[in-house]
Amino acid sequence: MSPGGTIALLVAIAAVGVAVIALVLLTRDRRRLTRLVSTSAPGELPGGRPLDALETLLAGATREAQRREGEVAELAEALDSIPLGIAVCDQHAQIRFRNTVAGGFESARHGEALVEAAVTDLLARAVQGLSGRREVQLYGPPLRSFVVRARPLMVDDDEVRGGIAVIEDVSEQRRVDSVRRDFVANISHELKTPIGALGLLADTIREEDDPEVVTRLAERMILEADRVSHTVDDLMELSRIEFADESDFEALDIGSLVCEAVARIREAADQRAVKVLVHAGEAMAVRGDRRQLVSALFNLLDNAVKFSESGTTVEINTTGTPEVVQIAVIDAGPGIESKEQERIFERFYRVDQGRSRAQGGTGLGLAIVRHVASNHRGRIDVVSSEGEGSTFVLRLPRLVASGGDTGAER
C-alpha cells in the first residue's frame, strides 16, 4: 500500500466515525424532543409523528404571529390617518405607542412642548386610575388651542394596564365659536342702538313745543333712520353677494372699476380733506361682476378714508403679474393690531367699538370685500402694524386678452 492510500483510508474511517457519532446524537435528541412534545400536549397534536406535529405547530404559530404583526401595523396606520393625536402608555406611564400626530409633539420644543407636558402629566395620573382633561392655549401666533384627554386602560374592570391620551386641535372650533358669538351680539347691537334712539327721540318730540328743538330732533331721527337703512342695505348686499354665482360675469377693465369706485368716494374724501391718489399700472382685465367689484373697491377706499387723519393721502395702486391683478389700497391711518387682522373681515367686527361707530360705518364693509374676493376666486389680505397705517391688497385672477375679447368693455 502506498503511503497516500493509507492516509486516504484513515481519513475515510475518521469521516465515518464522525458521521456515526452525529447520527447517534441526533436520534437521541430526536427521541428526547418527541418525548417532550408528547408529554406537553398529548391530545392536541394532529396525527402523524410527534416531531412533524411540532413543526406544524411552530409554522402555525409563526403564521399567527406574522398575521398579528400585520394587524398591528394596519391598526397603527389606521390610527395615523386620523387627525387626533393618540398616545398609549404602559402601567409605568412609559409611552409605548404614538400615532403620527402625537409623535409630532414628542420632539416639539416651543409651544407644543407644553402639549407634550400635559400628555405626560395626564398619563401619569391615568395609570393611577384617574381620568383627566386639560386645555392648552398657545399664543403662537397664530393662536391655537388643544384639548388633551387621558383615561386609564382597564382589563377585567379592575386592573389598570396603562393609559391612553387623546390630543385634539380645537383652534378652528374656538375661532368659529367666537365668530358666531360676536355676530349674534353685534347684529342685535347694530340694529337696536339706532332703533332705541329713534324711540327716545320720538318720545321727546311728542312733549316738545319749541319748533327749533323739534327740527333738531327730527334731523337726528333722520340720521338714525339712515343708519338703520344703511345697515339693512349692507346686509342685503352682503347676502346677495354671498349667494351670487358666476352666470353674469363679464370681462372688465380694472382702470374703469377703480375710476368708478374713486368717483364714489371723492365727496366723502373731500369732506375729510383726505387726498385720494390713483397709480394706475398697465391696462388689465378680470372676469367678474361689475357691481360687486366696484362695491368691494369702494368699501376698501371708504375704510381707508374713514381711518385717515385729514391732510393725509390714500393711495390706490394697481399692479399685475401675468396671472394675477393686484389692487392695493394704502392709508396712513392708525393701523390694525395683528391680533385683530384675522378678525376684521368678519361681519360687524369692530376693532374699537366706540371709534368706528362714530365714523359711521356699518361694520359690514370688509365682510363684503372678502365675499366679493372669494366669489371671484381672489383673495384679500391686509398688511399693517399699529401706528404705521394699513395696506389692503385685493388679488384677482387676471383675464388674458385673447383675440377680440379684450378687457376694455366700456
Binding site: E112, A113, L114, Y139, G140, E337, K339, E386, G387
Partner: protein
C-alpha cells in the same frame, strides 16, 4: 452593571434636557401672553400669568436639583459636564425671562385704563414678537447644540435694541405732545426695558450654549486681557514699552483659541 448605570445616567440627562425645553416653551409662550394682557387691558389674564409664575419656579428648582444630583453622584466629564452646567445656567435665564413678563403684567395693572398711541402699541407688539422669536431661537440652539445660531443671537438682538430705542422716543414724543401723563410714561418706559432685557437673556443663553459646544465663554476675552496686563505689570518696566503696541491684538488672538 456599569453599562446599566450609563443608561440610567443618559436617561437622566435626557430628562433634564426635556425639562429645560419645557421651561423654555413656557417662557416663550408667556411673552405674547403677557403682551396680550398689556395691550388688551386684560387684568384677569395678567393676574393668571402672575400666579402661574409659581409653576415656572417649581420647574426650574426641579431642574436644578436633578442637575446637582447628577453632578454629585455621577461625576460627569467634558461634554456631559458642560451640558449640565449650561442647563443650570439656562434654567435661571429662562426663569428670569418669565419673571420679566410678570413685571410687564404688573406694569399693565398700574397703567390700566390709560390710553396710549397706536404707534406705542405697535412698537410694544413688535418688541414682544422680536423677544419671542429670540427666545425661540435660543431654545432651538440649545436642542440642536447649534453654535452658529447661538452666537448669531447677539446680532439678532440688535433689532430688538433698535426697536427699544424707537419705542423710548415714541414714549417721549407722546408725553411731550400731551397724550400721556408722566406716570404712565414712566411705566411704559419700564415695560419697554423689560422686553429689552428678555432679549439680553436670550443672548446670555446663546453664550452659554456656545460654551456647551466649544467650551469658550465671552468672558474669556476679558480674562485673557487681565492676565496679559498682570504679566506686564509683574515683569520689568522695559517690557511695558512694547506691550502698549501689541495690547490691541493680543486679546484678539486669545479669542481665536
Amino acid at each position: 452593571m456599569a453599562e446599566e448605570h450609563r443608561i440610567e445616567f443618559h436617561e437622566a440627562m435626557d430628562e433634564i434636557r426635556s425639562r429645560v425645553v419645557r421651561l423654555g416653551a413656557i417662557a416663550t409662550e408667556v411673552i405674547p401672553r403677557g403682551t396680550e394682557a398689556l395691550l388688551g387691558m386684560d387684568l384677569r389674564l395678567a393676574q393668571r400669568i402672575i400666579d402661574d409664575d409659581d409653576t415656572v419656579d417649581e420647574l426650574s428648582l426641579d431642574i436644578e436639583e436633578r442637575a446637582y444630583n447628577l453632578l454629585a453622584l455621577q461625576q460627569p466629564m467634558a461634554r456631559d459636564l458642560r451640558f449640565l452646567i449650561t442647563s443650570i445656567h439656562l434654567t435661571s435665564e429662562l426663569e428670569r425671562t418669565a419673571d420679566l413678563v410678570v413685571n410687564v403684567c404688573k406694569g399693565a395693572r398700574r397703567i390700566y385704563r390709560c390710553k396710549f398711541d397706536p404707534r406705542i402699541r405697535g412698537l410694544i407688539k413688535a418688541m414682544s414678537d422680536e423677544a419671542t422669536e429670540l427666545t425661540k431661537h435660543a431654545m432651538d440652539a440649545y436642542v440642536e447644540a447649534d453654535e452658529s445660531l447661538a452666537s448669531a443671537l447677539d446680532d439678532i438682538d440688535d433689532r430688538l435694541d433698535e426697536l427699544h430705542t424707537d419705542y423710548i422716543e415714541a414714549v417721549f414724543d407722546s408725553h411731550s405732545a400731551g397724550n400721556l401723563d408722566l406716570q404712565a410714561a414712566v411705566q411704559l418706559a419700564l415695560i419697554g426695558r423689560y422686553y429689552e432685557r428678555i432679549g439680553d437673556h436670550a443672548v446670555n443663553v446663546g453664550e452659554r450654549i456656545t460654551y456647551m459646544v466649544t467650551g469658550w465663554l465671552p468672558e474669556h476675552t476679558g480674562v485673557a486681557r487681565v492676565a496679559l496686563k498682570n504679566r506686564y505689570r509683574s515683569s520689568g518696566v522695559n517690557d511695558r514699552q512694547p506691550a502698549s503696541g501689541s495690547q490691541g491684538t493680543q486679546p484678539e488672538e486669545r479669542r481665536e483659541e
